[in-house]
């Protein structure tokens, strides 16, 4: 299967949306398009598994390499391995859900759906590209739609949030760019596979790793560059928050992982900083969440804490922990998207996100409340949901790190699950349980599209939560390969 399809489908959808006229038409096109993406992703998974089963041990499947800018040795080199495939699946799932929850978007609906689809295109492109320049290209493609989505359709102090988000992310990609330049002029190629083969000299790695890692780290809400997350998520319209937390923060995590695999020596020598920052992010994010009163802020801050696990997993640099990081990315994507969807549903009915003003919603809207609770339980890592699998894998992995001091980091991070329980239960207890106010008692429950969206995400969460061996089966071989790369240099030193 030609991977470019993953870019062409959204592109086509976007163009169709541009030419279509009224809302009904637009959203149908959007839905069909996103479903097509989902189907494509699913089909891709099937093919991928078939290939692997057939014993195709190549690191990347469905590879295709076409020269783009010949003069600069820039190639449109695409291909997927288990990790990117997992990300692609995540993206496609969230896109469908996002389209569904914004079904009744009246204001400038054409532009809205257009931008959503564009954003998804950027994500797909990012995940499939094996050429650093292409990677960077798609990374930035995904930035501007966010700005517009938040700025135009957002709520609260949307302009500032949009500006802050755009600028911080741009700063991130600026750093990434410098790093890429460094890599390019020391290897004379942007091709990740080739670079992986030839390796980069230690000095170069040491100098440029901080650039790229920090750059991608900003996308992944690495402490202390996470401040765009709360405002951005809180101001964004529902679908946009879902995309932001569900997809675009994953761009960062994915990038960090790739960079760590690309410059393993540097990753090893800087791992203590990474772990430190991640640990701070985890516990700090958790405590900050505990103090929030706005549902969206609660989820945004908890995202900081959860993405900390991703970084932690990467920083620990062993197979299990990296597995955990990847699972956590997928899991957090689904979970947080679900959470934002639920919050959006509540907000669209009650017109408030303030915990204090809500209560007893379970009486009025049982379905939405159940969704909310499920999202909450998943985020506090309840067995049976994806969160548990991810976090436990990270813990197991990070405990295996030979350096004993890092166990302290692990313990601290593990402690965050208690804090998580506190704020999740606080939010649930105040909004879902307790006495309900009279005007809320009359509100209706979820509509079919919302139910469908939530259902999709929950299914995703449950699949990982109940049958983690499936996703493991997908990711493991890839991590194995990454580890070969990472450990090799360890012995070499």
């Amino acid at each position: 299967m030609n991977l470019s399809l993953l870019i062409l489908l959204p592109l086509l959808t976007a163009l169709l949306i541009l030419v279509s006229k009224q809302l009904a038409q637009i959203r149908v096109i959007g839905l069909v398009g996103s479903l097509a993406q989902l189907a494509a992703a699913g089909w891709l998974l099937k093919l991928y598994m078939a290939q692997r089963a057939a014993g195709n041990a190549a690191t990347h499947l469905f590879e295709s390499n076409t020269v783009w800018f010949k003069a600069l040795n820039i190639n449109y080199h695409i291909g997927i391995d288990g990790i990117s495939l997992a990300m692609i699946l995540l993206t496609s799932l969230i896109v469908v859900a996002g389209i569904l929850v914004s079904w009744t978007m009246e204001k400038l609906s054409k532009e809205y759906f257009f931008l959503l689809v564009l954003l998804s295109m950027g994500a797909y492109g990012f995940f499939i590209s094996l050429d650093l320049f292409t990677l960077f290209f798609f990374l930035e493609v995904a930035v501007i739609p966010k700005f517009l989505l938040i700025g135009i359709w957002g709520s609260g102090k949307k302009e500032n949030s949009a500006m802050k988000l755009a600028l911080m992310l741009m700063a991130g990609s600026a750093l990434v760019f410098v790093g890429l330049m460094g890599i390019y002029y020391n290897t004379h190629t942007f091709d990740m596979v080739e670079i992986g083969k030839m390796g980069i000299s230690l000095g170069v790695q040491k100098f440029f790793f901080p650039f790229v890692f920090l750059g991608f780290g900003i996308f992944a809400a690495l402490f202390p560059f996470h401040t765009w997350v709360p405002d951005g998520h809180a101001s964004a319209p529902t679908a946009a928050s879902m995309f932001l937390a569900g997809i675009s923060m994953k761009l960062g995590g994915y990038g960090c992982l790739r960079m760590a695999a690309l410059m393993p020596d540097a990753a090893h020598s800087y791992s203590w900083i990474i772990i430190l920052l991640a640990t701070i992010a985890i516990i700090y994010g958790a405590f900050a969440t505990m103090m929030q009163t706005d549902l969206k802020y609660i989820n945004a801050y908890s995202s900081i804490s959860h993405c900390g696990f991703v970084i932690l997993g990467i920083g620990m640099l062993n197979k299990t922990s990296i597995n955990g990081a990847v699972i956590q990315m997928v899991s957090h994507g689904l979970m947080t998207a679900l959470f934002f969807a639920a919050i959006g549903m509540i907000y669209s009915r009650t017109h408030t996100r303030m915990v204090a003003q809500l209560g007893g919603l379970l009486k009025a809207m049982p379905f939405i409340s159940t969704v909310f609770v499920i999202a909450g339980l998943c985020s506090l890592g309840l067995p049976g949901f994806s969160g548990f699998v991810a976090e436990m894998t990270v813990f197991m992995g990070s405990w295996q790190n030979p350096a004993g001091v890092y166990r302290i980091a692990t313990v601290i991070s593990a402690a965050s699950i208690v804090v998580t329980a506190v704020y999740i239960l606080r939010a649930t207890g105040k909004t879902i349980m307790g006495p309900i106010s009279d005007e809320h008692a009359l509100l209706g429950d979820a509509t079919w599209n919302e139910k469908l969206a939530a259902g999709l995400l929950i299914v995703g969460i449950l699949i990982i939560g109940l049958a983690p061996f499936l996703i493991n089966q997908l990711i493991m071989p890839t991590t194995d390969f990454l580890m070969i790369n990472i450990d090799k240099t360890l012995t070499l030193k």
Binding site: M168, F287, L377, M392, W399, A414, V418, I432
Partner: protein, 649 residues
Amino acid sequence: MSNYLYILWIPLLPLATFVVLGLFGRKYFAKTAGIIGTASLLTSTLLSFVAAKQYFFVDGKVNGVYQKIIALKYTWLQFSPNVSIDMGIIVDPISVMMLIVVTSVSLMVHLFSLGYMKGEERFATYYAFLSLFTFSMLGLILSVNIFQVYMFWELVGVSSFLLIGYYFNKPSAVAASKKAFIVTRFADLGFLIGILIIGFYGGTLDIGLLIEKFTSVQSPEFISITTASFLGASMLTWGLVLIFMGGAGKSAMFPLHIWLPDAMEGPTPVSALIHAATMVVAGVYLVARLFPLFSMDEAALTIVTYVGAFSALLAAVIACTQTDIKRVLAYSTMSQIGYMMFALGVSKNGGESGLGFMASMFHLFTHAFFKSLLFLGAGSVIHMVHSNEMKDMGGLRKLMPITHAAFLIACLAIAGIPPFAGFFSKEEILTAAFHENKLIYGVALFTAALTSFYMFRLYFTIFWSKEAAAKTHHHDAHNDHGEGTWTMKLPLLILAACAVGVGFIPFSQFITSDGAALETHVDMVFSIAPVALSIIAILLSASFYKSHNSKSDKAVAFFGGFYKAAYKKFYVDELYLFITKKIVFPFIGQPIAWADRNIVDGFMLLLANTTAKISTAIKGFQSGKVQNYALYFFGGVLALSVLFIYIWK
């Protein structure tokens, strides 16, 4: 030996019930949910009895020793080549015993709830949650892998959370459910880290393998874990103590017990199931399951012993002062579990010295029945009086004879009066304690006396002490559902029968630390002391509470401050509140939240603002005067010349 595979259905049936009722309950089974739940559970109960029969009497025993049989094992999540979470079913004496306990008690509760919860709006949901709990509890006891234990452990916690918070629009219930979950969650943190430690050194998470590796003193794993130490204690101690912390959380051992009394906010049958018979003994079960490991580490066992003993005493004292009947029962539960704990603590692994282990399991077994009986009895009392407070009750023995009888039997059982079940199990415990540790024995004895005192205090105030009766009578005239439906009476009768009967089971033949049968004999001389004490205590409370008089008030006055402290549960709750509300929130949460807005984010803003400031500061550069432009031009020329002709050439 996979001919135990059918055991798989025992947990799966409740799970299926949960899924069905959870998804379609509200719509389709609003009325019939109870029947469905009970039916499916009845099946599992029968299955577990079949399993017990097969195991204990057919093929469990191989040359005199009951085997640990792994009926099923499936790798659920692979961490690394030999570290993985496996889902499986272990069949060994304690797990089978627990199967019996859980399913039958749960069945009783299901039955009882049919009447008790009749007409509830979320009837189906209630049964869904009950099934979820039963499933998780069964999964927990069948675990082969320590991480499997942890998972079901969490699930048990959450289902208890859901059931406590069943009356979700009652703030106190919500608060209680939150408290229960968070406290146990905190304990589970310890459990998790313990698992990480043990799993790391053991190189596996499989309980069987762990035991294998850590019980042989020469094995490299054992050496490495005992040599590695942190803050003076060996890693083994750390691991086990942390795991025990998890157990203490679930089993409401001091100081993690504070959630249990509040948990009584849930529907009474739930309390009977979760907070009396099954979930709260999970901690005991955990220690028992890992007992071979614990037995390798003296320090850990000592901690278990003293925590257990202290909790038993403390709870008993507090129980004497409470006025809410369910809270009294809750504290008695705590104290009984304390018994089980220290019984384990004083035990050794295998042989004669393994008596404590067997005693603890025995007590767990008997306690399950009479305690759930007590709760159900209390349930039907509350059902009638519509209040938990003792003062609203009295003289009910005429109105509800069956309940009265059942309750009396239960009280006698828990007080350890022969020939009731409690007597036998408690006897074994006392014997074990007597042989191992006199101090503990003393505590146990005193606690036993206290137990019978407060239990009969309860009994008399509910069923005798006259004049409140009139009020109730009158009150009762209006709603004459007497003792409720037969579905509510039947469980009482069955459990009562158990409370009398189970004591005669030759328990030591079946369940011992090493699986080999253990000869125990009830020593009449030895039993004199405890029995006598209990009887004295009963008479005392009779004189206090049988008929309303001022003796009790005198006693209160006599104890004064101590009574007050006990009544206030020794201010442990307040301490916790102080730590969270006065320390964690204002000194950790607030500052971080503030710092994030004002320092971290403020820094970013500062960057932006300084840029803006600079740009305004230098705007004079563009003065609009063409001559200045020319001047700057020339300045530029000079600067370049100086730089590149004299400095950088």
